[in-house]
Structures are given as C-alpha cells and as structure tokens.
Amino acid sequence: MDVNFPDPTDWLSTSVPGIQALETALSCQVCKEFFTAPVATSCGHTFCSLCIRRCLSATQKCPTCMTTDDESRLRKNTLVQDILSSFTAIRKQMLDGLVIKEEPEPPITKEPEAEKKRVEKRSSYDFDEEIEEEETTNNKRRGKRRKQEEAPVSSGGSSDRPRRSTRTSSQRTNSKISSQTAIVIDDSDEDFNPNEINSDNEFESGSRPKRGRPSRVPETPPTTNLVPCPICGRLKEPEQIQSHANRCIEGKRSPSPSQNAANAASSSLSPLKRPPISFSNIPKPAATQFRAPYTEEEKQKLKLAKGNFTLTKEADIRKRLRENGIRVDVKGKESKNAIWARLQEWTNLWNANLDSEMPKTKQALVKELETSERHQQSQKPSVVQDKEFAREEWGKDHRTEYENMIADAKMRVLKKKNEAESATNGDKTDTASEPPRMTAEVNGIGSPEIIET
C-alpha cells in the first residue's frame, strides 16, 4: 500500500503554490489521482478511462456536470496525457527545488534575527485571508494567497521583541493599524511540531526523507510503494518496474512526444538522483504483464459492448466470462446480478486498457479483476454480514497504519481546539503551557472562532 500520497496541496508549501492548480487539473476528480489513460466526455470533462467507464456504468452522467453521456462517445485525451507525462517526470525534481526550506533551529544568540525574518513573512499575508488563516490548523491547503517571498508590509520593529507572545501581539498591532480585523497568527504548529508544515511533501517514491512525527507514517514498509523508472522517471509498482524498464531500455514502447519529453527531463537529472539500473531488490514479476499500445484500428475491433442486462441471457454472460478465462461459479451458485456485475467490470477494465499507453496483457487484466473481486466480497450494503466480513478482511492488513493516521487526525483536531482557545484568550498566546484537554476535545471539533470586525 502506498502511504505517501502525492497531493496537489504539496505545492502550497513551495515558492510556487500556484502549481497546485496545475496538478489539480491533471488529476481525475473521481479517483483524485493523476489521470490514467485520460479520456474526454462529450461535455469536455476528462477522467481516467476506467473511472469514467465505471461512472457511466452506474449512471449515464458526467460526474462533474451531470450531463448525460455514453461510453461510446468517450475520446482519448492525448494532450492531457502528454502534459501529464511531462509533469510527473519532473514533479519530484520541482518539489525538491521549490520547497521552502525549513529554517534550522536558530542558536539562542541569533534568535532575534530569525524572529524578525519570520515576522516579516507573516506580516505579508493577505489580510482578507485571515479568517481562513485563523481557523485552520494547517492553512496550507486553503491559504491560496500566502505570499511568503514578498517584501514585508511592516515588521513593526519586532526584531527586539522577545519570542512568541510578542510576535503575535505585534501581528495584532499591525493588523489594527491597517484597519483590518484582529489577526491571530496560526503558528502554534511551529511549537507543536516544527516539521508539520512540510510533512506531506513526501513524494510517492517514498525516497524523500520523512520529516514529520515518526508516528505519522507507519514504519512498516508499504507493500506497493511506487518506484521511479530509471529510464523515463515514471512511477511504477515494484513488480512492474522490471518489465517496464526493460521495455524502456529496449525502446519497445511506441515513441510519442510525451515519452521524448519524459526522457529528456529525466536525462537532465543528476545521475546520483537516479536509482541504479539494478532491480535485484525488487520482486520479479511472474510474467510479462504489458503489451504494445493498441492501434486505433485494433481498439475499434476489440472494444467490448456493454450489452443490456435484461436482454442478455444468463448463459451468455457465463459463456462470455469463461471465454475470457474469468472465473464463474457453477450455475446456480451465483446470481445473474453477480455475474453481470463481473462482466461489466471486465468490460470496463478491458476497454480502459485499450486506451492505456502501457496496456496490460489479458492475463494480467484477468488477475486484476480477480484481485479486486477478492476485496469486493459484497456489493450490497444491505447484506450486513457479508459487509462486516469484507470489512474485517479489509481492515486487517492496514490496521496499524490506520490507527496511526487516526491518532494523528485526532491530534490535529485537538491542536485546532487548543489554538482556538489560545486565540480567544487574548494575550495569552503560549499554547505550549496549556495542558491539552482530554477526551472531549479528542472527539470534538474546534469551537467557532468569532472574528470582530
């Protein structure tokens, strides 16, 4: 499992926060990940081929604008694919280069200067964002207009002032001078955990050093941590990387502008940053899992039709599944609904695979369907027992990870609450001295902050 989630919000703590919008535009709004085989609907919205096929199987509507649409009208979005390939090839490099470096803990003698620098940064916030600034524990996601690199508006001569309480009160003074509402700087993060603000910058390769609290990221190595291809820089599952890289080396993949761009981008990387082209530490895939991309002609020929539930005979569903080497239980054991759902999912997987730049082999696809079905013991929420069973099964492997994530999420809520309290406590700004209040806050939420205007 990949626990390092690349997310558009990663860019908010860099010197070019606007890249967030670019990355969001390159992400599918259904799975919230980068597009996989992007296709456009007839209303002009782009999704992963598989995501939109699944959506249209459920309701014949575009998830974004609710316009009625049909699978047959989906078209491959080559431009988005090319932009995405170029972007992902340089993402880590850009993130590393643009991330605002944490200031090292300043020695005591240098503190006033370090302090001044911080105040200047703070005072350049847009004041009309202050409500958000104040109310969020971690403002990086919504504090869109945070301008850390700008010249200070006014530092209020704060350089001589003692540490934290003065910093906050000088902020307040500034904001009053500028005839705005009171601003309370949400910087208790720094005291609580100085590393927090950058802690989700970890790239999906997992190669970035983790700087957050150790408990935030489970120590157990994720089983599907993505590995960058040393040739093109794309992130791949470890079990796929060998065959993928082989293909890259042999140049078997059909050349496209995106690959050229990706290759160009990665070749500019320092050789030191590239992993060695040795995969002895990576589990070998059982067999070749990929094939050459489908041509348009092949696609038209191979595309599977969805069919109609009532018009399709149960025997035909079984036959079609068996023909493709897909497991079907002996007649009578599985309902028509169940095998129809399997055929639909197969059709989605198959048709989306036709759109892929790196299509999987049929065997690999069948395997994927089986794996995903193992996790899908029950589709019907009303069958409580099956669901409980599936849930149990599901939660088992990931329990520790979840416990950690939840503990952290709760901690944040608690922090939020503490900050809210310190914010409303006037001059009493030292959150560190405030003992965290227990249980009630852990399950509760921060009290509403009232801003005087």
């Binding site: 989630f5 919000t9 459920a58 969020t136 599901w394 809520v413 939420i445 509403p448």
Partner: protein
C-alpha cells in the same frame, strides 16, 4: 480496491485540513467513519452543539454514494431538522439521486453543515414517528419526497 485507495487519500487529506466546524471523530477502518459537525453561526437551534455523522462506504465508493446518517451517542443528539428523521436518517438528494463521484467526505459534511445552518424550523419530517417505527435505516432504500423546498 478503488474505494480503499480513494478513502486512504481522503483520510490523508482530512488529516491535513478540514474546514471549520468539521472534525473527524473516528475511522476505525476504511468502511465506517464518524465525522463531527458543528454549526458555526448563532442559529439557536444548533448553538454550541456538536453532531455526529456516520459514513458507511461500500466497496464501490465513490461510484456509489456513502450511507450517511446522524448517530446518537453519549451526549450527542440528532439535530432537529425537517429533513432529518429522529433516527438519524437524512433526506438529502446529494446522498441519493444527485450523488456524484466527484463528491467526497469533506464536501458531504459541508453540505450537511450548511443544511443545518440555513434551517429555521424546529421540526422533524412529516411522518417521523411512522418512519422510525418502520425501522428503515438505510437512506438508499427510501424514496424521499422533497415536498418541502424551503430548506
């Protein structure tokens, strides 16, 4: 599998940021989460109250809508609202026929929060007693009649 991946991502993001008045109470695994919501203005119906939502995700989430209900727990009540039954079932088209996979836990919480914020009626939906007695728990199986468009 896709539900799991998407929920992990949401949980990760939730743990970095949640809008004011929305918090995570628990997510013991990936199929049931509890979220706390609070109305941020001074609406006397909900002032100083925290309410708890339970999200149940099927393996088809986000293609399929989560099942979202208010839950009653120690010191936590079901909010009074003409579209919320006293057993916690919420009558909200976003969770039914108007569900879209682009929605997420955060956006659902925000919709429900604003549904409370804008309400002024201290009442339950018509037929609440019967409805609760009939034992329907799953909002998906109910054909809500949106006969009241003031909320």
């Amino acid at each position: 599998m896709f539900a799991q991946k998407r929920l992990q991502k949401e949980l990760h993001n939730i743990h970095n940021y949640l809008p004011p008045g929305i918090g995570i109470a628990s997510a013991s695994d990936l199929s049931i989460w509890k979220m706390d919501i609070q109305v941020l203005d001074t609406n006397p119906l909900y002032a100083d109250q925290i309410y708890r939502l339970q999200f149940k995700f099927s393996q088809s989430y986000p293609i399929e809508a989560p099942e979202v209900t208010f839950v009653k727990e120690d010191g936590i009540e079901i909010p009074m609202h003409p579209h919320i039954y006293s057993n916690g079932v919420i009558c909200l088209d976003l969770l039914g026929k108007n569900w879209s996979p682009v929605q997420n836990v955060e956006s659902v919480c925000m919709s429900i929060q604003s549904m409370l914020t804008s309400n002024t009626k201290n009442e339950r939906p018509p037929g609440d007693d019967n409805f609760v007695r009939s034992g329907y728990r799953s909002p998906r199986n109910i054909n809500f009649v949106y006969d009241d468009d003031t909320v």
